[in-house]
């Protein structure tokens, strides 16, 4: 159950790996143009190579079946049952879903998560792109800056950072005191259910290292001649960014948007920890993101059936958003013909 809950949103990365595995497999097998018939008959050799491929993949396949596919199938079944971990699951059809949609707390969690995705993701990507542009110029100490800006992402997933964040945004702590300098005596953000979510957004924006590195790689790929030509034509830096940089890195941008959006939907750790005094996930449900509520229903209220139904709902939502993003890329993602 645990695996199903935490891995519910993973199928996107999972299918990607599956795809990669499949394509890696095919050139070794049937994909190769038949050379002049050698001593070994082709079908036999292909089968042997396939076998070797599957053998090498077997740890992954076993892990996938046992740790991902199995629990997912189980969780799909539990989604239609009343299951408290102790008694045998009882089939109740769509009742979990009806209850979910009628639950005001569930709607709160959807709103908060939606808000977090819509606000947090673009801010994070903007920060990542902005810093990547700065770091793309050759200056002294570039290596140090790149490492320094990437560092928060390395430690970012840890519980300790969330705890530090909590301390920074508490009443009377650093952020509160800084606010007072500007005459904004509003107390800390942690105790305020309307503002605590901004602390989460700030945390995710601060952890822009991973998309930044990807942006940086993308920026390195943009041919210098384009800028030179534009400069000769007298294009301003802004126009160069808008008409050269952005279209040229749009595949990278698309990749980052996709990854970060999916990632944002799955926010749990920071919300759970930063909002965890008194009630889990925030004062007055201020950081009750979707996975947080899912966790509460599953592990605090022992309603694993309902939690499974929620996990599948999340999977559907993430799948839908991903599909929309893929559909939209025709309009704004520019793939160079015969990319360099």
């Amino acid at each position: 159950m645990d695996a199903a809950v935490t891995s519910a949103p993973t199928p996107v990365p999972v299918t990607r790996t599956a795809g990669e595995a499949a394509s890696a497999d095919s050139p070794a097998g049937g994909g190769r143009p038949p050379r002049a018939a050698g001593r070994t008959p082709r079908p036999h050799r292909a089968r042997r190579e396939n076998l070797a491929g599957y053998l090498f993949m077997s740890p992954w396949i076993a892990g996938f079946l046992l740790l991902t596919a199995g629990p997912m199938v189980a969780s799909l079944y539990f989604a239609f049952t009343d299951y408290n971990l102790f008694d045998a699951p009882k089939w109740i059809g769509l009742d979990n879903f009806t209850e979910m949609f009628g639950d005001p707390r569930w709607r709160t969690s959807v709103e908060i998560t939606g808000w977090y995705v819509v606000i947090g993701t673009p801010l994070k990507l903007a920060a990542a792109l902005g810093v990547a542009l700065l770091l793309n110029q050759s200056r002294r100490g570039q290596g140090f800056y790149r490492a320094a800006f990437y560092a928060p992402s390395l430690i970012g997933a840890s519980v300790s950072i969330a705890i530090v964040w909590r301390a920074i945004f508490s009443d009377g702590a650093a952020v509160d005191r800084a606010q007072r300098v500007f005459g904004l005596d509003a107390g800390g953000w942690i105790g305020d259910p309307d503002r605590i979510i901004y602390a989460l957004v700030a945390l995710t924006v601060w952890q822009f290292g991973a998309p930044m590195v990807i942006f940086l790689a993308g920026l390195k790929q943009v041919p210098r001649e384009l800028y030179e030509a534009a400069q000769v034509d007298g294009a301003s830096p802004w126009r160069r960014f808008w008409h050269i940089t952005l279209p040229m890195i749009s595949p990278v941008l698309f990749f980052n948007v996709l990854l970060e959006t999916i990632h944002s939907f799955q926010i749990f750790g920071s919300a759970y920890i930063i909002g965890s005094q008194g009630n889990a996930c925030g004062p007055a449900d201020g950081t009750l993101v979707y996975t947080c509520y899912l966790y509460i229903q599953g592990f605090e209220n022992s309603r694993m059936g309902l939690a499974s139904a929620m996990a599948w709902m999340l999977l559907l939502a993430v799948g839908l958003v991903t599909a929309v993003l893929f559909w939209s890329q025709r309009r704004w993602v520019h793939y160079e013909e015969g990319a360099r």
């Binding site: 102790f86 699951p89 105790g191």
Partner: protein, 416 residues
């Protein structure tokens, strides 16, 4: 194990992971898993007690595991559902029926009959505390009761001195006085403490729970929370926007409030946490006499699936009766439940003396009553009560809305 694992694929992983632990080895040595909730300080004391036990029972080894209260129950629930509950664990009244209904708790009556667990020598009838429907599901290790922890300096300066039998009106006058003279909120805000609201209800002949449901009406709760909302607004109760981020520090030691209701044995931590002197005051009453109080207790329970019920019972017996353990544990788990441990530990520190005096006064003034039943689902009810009270106090939810939501959630929790 078969029943659970047969019903669920997911539980399979949990049981498989747990199968290797808890069994005996060739030389007859038995290992028991013992888990409990609490702080580092309690961990030190428990480890000392266990060292004593292992010396006396060289064939039994104890493996411990501990978490804070809320995390403890999440972990326990997961373990128990996989048929892998610890052999011996700390328990409380709110969880007895829940885990009895789920077939997790060992009826210790049999072990008591076999002489592995003594049920005599308990104070004030405490041995009855862990009984549910004739089964003995837990053995009390210490008694505690709700109390009002006060910042004595603040109370003295404000000229307030609570006496047994004081009324809620007098209590609220005192809070207003503290607010006026000391510029500090009077109380941290009692509106979210289920156990205190239970006392308030009991003073009026009602109770928080009946054996199967809630023992109060929407109108009762509306009254309680409407008054609370007004008091938060007027500053008599502390601003939740300040007290919430101060946690885990209490509102009293963070100097945000003059007093707050909590369990009397928690008083120990205040002195360590804050700068002032802290004391215990009696629970306010409605009629000048009845406080609604009862003795509560932490208990030790054993798992129904333990392979070593005899050793588990011996360990519980040792932790509950041994005088040396009493000396080591002090009042950490409440005032010791057995005479032997109660006699063995004489508090020398001021807080310990106060707790002893407080409970002595409770017993002698004969205000104590039998405890309210805690139906299965009581723990979820408590969490919802705390959360909705918080939302109400923050002004995020109108009182009427919070009350309605509470009854909806409690009904779901108590029916499932």
């Amino acid at each position: 194990m078969l029943k659970v694992a047969g019903g669920s694929l997911a539980a399979l992983g949990l049981t498989a992971a747990g199968c290797g632990t808890g069994s005996g080895s060739g030389d007859g040595t038995v290992t028991l898993r013992y888990s409990w909730w609490g702080s580092e300080d309690r961990a030190k004391r428990i480890n000392q007690s266990i060292a004593l036990f292992e010396k006396k029972f060289p064939k039994i080894k104890i493996k411990t595991d501990f978490q804070p209260y809320a995390d403890f129950w999440k972990k326990f629930n997961t373990q128990a559902s996989g048929g892998n509950a610890p052999d011996v664990f700390q328990n409380a009244i709110g969880f007895l029926r829940k885990y009895d209904a789920k077939n997790v708790l060992l009826d210790l009556r049999e072990q008591a009959g076999a002489g592995n667990l003594r049920l005599d020598g308990f104070r004030a009838g405490l041995e009855k505390f862990g009984e549910v429907d004739g089964k003995l599901l837990g053995v009390p290790v210490g008694s505690n009761s709700m109390a009002l922890v006060v910042d004595q300096a603040v109370f003295t300066k404000a000229g307030v001195s609570p006496k047994p039998g004081w009324t809620w009106d007098e209590y609220h006058e005192a809070l207003a006085r503290i607010r006026q003279t000391q510029g500090r909120a009077g109380d941290a805000g009692p509106y979210g403490i289920m156990y205190l609201y239970d006392l308030y209800l009991r003073q009026q002949g009602k109770a928080f729970f009946t054996t199967s449901g809630l023992g109060f009406t929407e109108a009762d709760l509306t009254d309680w929370w409407t008054k609370a909302a007004a008091r938060v607004k007027s500053g008599v109760y502390a601003d939740p926007k300040k007290t919430i981020p101060a946690k885990p520090k209490s509102a009293v030691t963070a100097e945000l409030a003059g007093c707050e209701f909590t369990w009397d044995n928690f008083a120990v931590r205040y002195t360590a946490e804050g700068k002032s002197r802290y004391g215990l005051a009696p629970i306010p009453t409605t009629d000048g006499r009845k406080t609604g109080q009862y003795l509560g207790s932490l208990m030790l329970s054993a798992s129904k699936r333990t392979e070593h019920p005899k050793e588990a019972a011996q360990f519980i017996d040792f932790m509950v009766h041994d005088p040396e353990v009493g000396k080591i544990m002090g009042y950490d788990r409440g005032v010791p439940a057995t005479e032997a441990q109660y006699q063995a530990y004489v508090p020398t520190d001021e807080v310990g003396k106060q707790i002893a005096a407080y409970e002595k006064q409770l017993v002698e003034s004969r205000v104590l009553e039998p405890i309210t039943p805690h139906p299965a689902g009581a723990d979820v009810c408590e969490a919802a009560f705390m959360r909705l009270a918080e939302e109400m106090s923050l002004g995020e939810r109108p009182v009427a809305d919070a009350v309605k939501q509470y009854f909806t959630e409690a009904k779901t929790a108590l029916s499932s």
